[in-house]
Amino acid sequence: MGGWLFDPAHWSGTTGIPVRLLEHLGYTLTTLLIAAVIAIPLGAFVGHTGKGGFLVVGLSNVLRALPTTAVLILVVLWAGLGDFPVYVALVLLAIPPIMAGTYAGIRAVDPVAVDAARGVGMREWGVLANVEIPNALPLIYGGFRGAALQVVATATIAAYTGAGGLGRFVFDGLALQEFGQMLAGAVLVALLAVLVDLGFAGLQRLTVSPGLRPVGTGGKR
């Protein structure tokens, strides 16, 4: 594996490691963005109103049960090649953890704080935006980072339909029985996953209020 990975020939050109890495990162970030745009408002709405919790849990379980390969194949068969099927499959994969995290996060906000928010005269939107979401952020990030890990790992299947990304190495390695290449692909994926997670951890640190850190890191008591 080391041999394959550190062979300079694999580090350049349109099929080199840097290009594949960027493609993979591209799939991942785009997927997460789309999934977040769908799942956070949905989870937040259901969490805020407290209605349809059953729906969220049910929906995310069904989505979790969807085999990504099957979704991918179906969409390919239906809509043809390209990035679209990949995004459909990956977005469906990313939605459940983000939605569940958001929902759980909002539900877990101290009801007294929410009550206080209404009590000081915030409107429902204000309660959601100024109190519930900021307080739910740690759990939202939890779901989001879980989704990110899964998407990074699964974006590999883009290669199954001939698209790029690090999965290329894995699939080509598999087809060619070149285990060096395949392992290198897997390791790069895992590495990318760790980096992406670190990135989001940094973002989380920047955007989550210090008041919500586990007691002991922030202050006394």
Binding site: A116, G211, V215, G219
Partner: protein, 360 residues
């Protein structure tokens, strides 16, 4: 002024939390709702700022039916302090306090200045402003809660068991501060508690609720103590009613002279002698002995609370707790001015009664 007119709240599950409540809270006073758990205090309170809407009846705040006002607007004009403070964990203390002014469209700087001012007013160092709620003790959080409710300077303040989460010592501090604040600010305050002592201490008028959402009695503390409307109120107000009544009486008690001595002096004590220090502050009693002695620390009998001239209760307790049966009276700086006797207190009480100061 807040008026409840035949207000009833029945929850969806059929619980009647408040039953035909008729009650008027006078402007500029503290009114306390007290009663056992589940008697509908919180529900009554929350109907005022429409956190809950009544099933029937009308609530007027300053003559205006609350149901005609859009809830968020209504709430911005009514301070609300929740049990356990209910601070926003993700905002600094300063931002917590600045919430309502910001909501009402103040600019950020002004809101923060106001918030800092309020922190001081509730007895918190402005340095606390930068902390997050989790970094404060329970008592400090309560203070922030009060500051937040005061921020927009609302004429009406609703306080739901605001001091229940803290220990008795801190609690007493907070109560005293509330009284001090109210003396300055003159708000219309509705205060909920299940602690009758707190109710009697803070309330100009006290509404005692009975389980099932009935108002059992609405009266001044002294009236509650002297003439409970029914057995429920009597038992809720508790034992020591007579003694507690003394809290509300400031009648004069004659102050008798007392023999004092200083440490190291040689004296002949025939009766109880109060030993004082150089500033004339009490150090202990010497009981009668034979012959001349030198006043020594080791012979002192300590004990006895001191009476600072405030209420009859203090006077009686000073007398009762003193080994000499003479309650030591002190002035502002703690110097002895004389002694009071228990029977004088009892006479003062009788006089106050005769003068109608104690109801019936």
């Amino acid at each position: 002024m807040i008026e409840f007119r035949a207000v009833t709240k029945r929850f969806e599950d059929g619980t009647i939390a408040v039953d035909e409540l008729d009650l008027t809270v006078e402007a500029g006073t503290i009114t306390v709702f007290v009663g056992p758990s589940g008697c509908g205090k919180t529900t009554s309170l929350r109907m005022v700022n429409r956190m809950i809407d009544p099933t029937s009846g009308t609530i007027l705040v300053d003559g205006k039916d609350v149901l005609t006002v859009d809830p968020p607007t209504l709430r911005r004009g009514i301070g609300y302090v929740i049990q356990q403070a209910g601070l926003f964990p993700h905002r600094t203390v300063l931002d917590n306090v600045a919430t309502v002014p910001l909501l009402s469209g103040w600019d950020k700087r002004k809101a923060r200045t106001r918030a800092a001012e309020l922190l001081e007013r509730v007895g918190l160092d402005p340095a606390f402003g930068k902390r997050y709620p989790a970094q404060l003790s329970g008592g400090q959080q309560q203070r922030v809660g009060v500051a937040r409710a005061l921020a927009a300077d609302p004429p009406v303040l609703l306080m739901d068991e605001p001091f229940s989460a803290v220990d008795p010592v801190v609690r007493e501090d907070l109560q005293n501060e509330l009284l001090r604040l109210q003396a300055e600010l003159d708000k219309t305050i509705v205060f909920v508690t299940h602690d009758i002592d707190e109710a009697l201490k803070l309330g100009e008028r006290v509404a005692v609720f009975q389980t099932g959402g009935h108002l059992a009695q609405y009266a001044k503390p002294t009236e509650l103590l002297a003439a409970p409307a029914n057995d429920f109120v009597a038992s809720f107000v508790g034992r020591d009613r007579g003694y507690r009544t003394l809290t509300f009486l400031h009648a004069d008690v004659p102050v008798h002279p007392v023999t004092t001595a200083k440490l190291g002096e040689r004296i002949t004590v025939s009766d109880w002698t109060l030993v004082v220090d150089d500033e004339n502050r009490p150090k202990g009693w010497l009981s009668g002995v034979d012959g001349e002695i030198e006043v020594a620390e080791k012979d002192l009998i300590s004990g006895g609370s001191l009476y600072d001239g405030s209420t009859l209760r203090g006077a009686l307790d000073a007398a009762l707790s003193s080994p000499s049966a003479l309650g030591v009276v002190i002035d502002d700086v703690g110097a002895v001015t004389g002694v009071v006797r228990a029977d004088d207190v009892i006479k003062a009480l009788a006089k106050a009664r005769a003068a109608g100061e104690v109801p019936k």
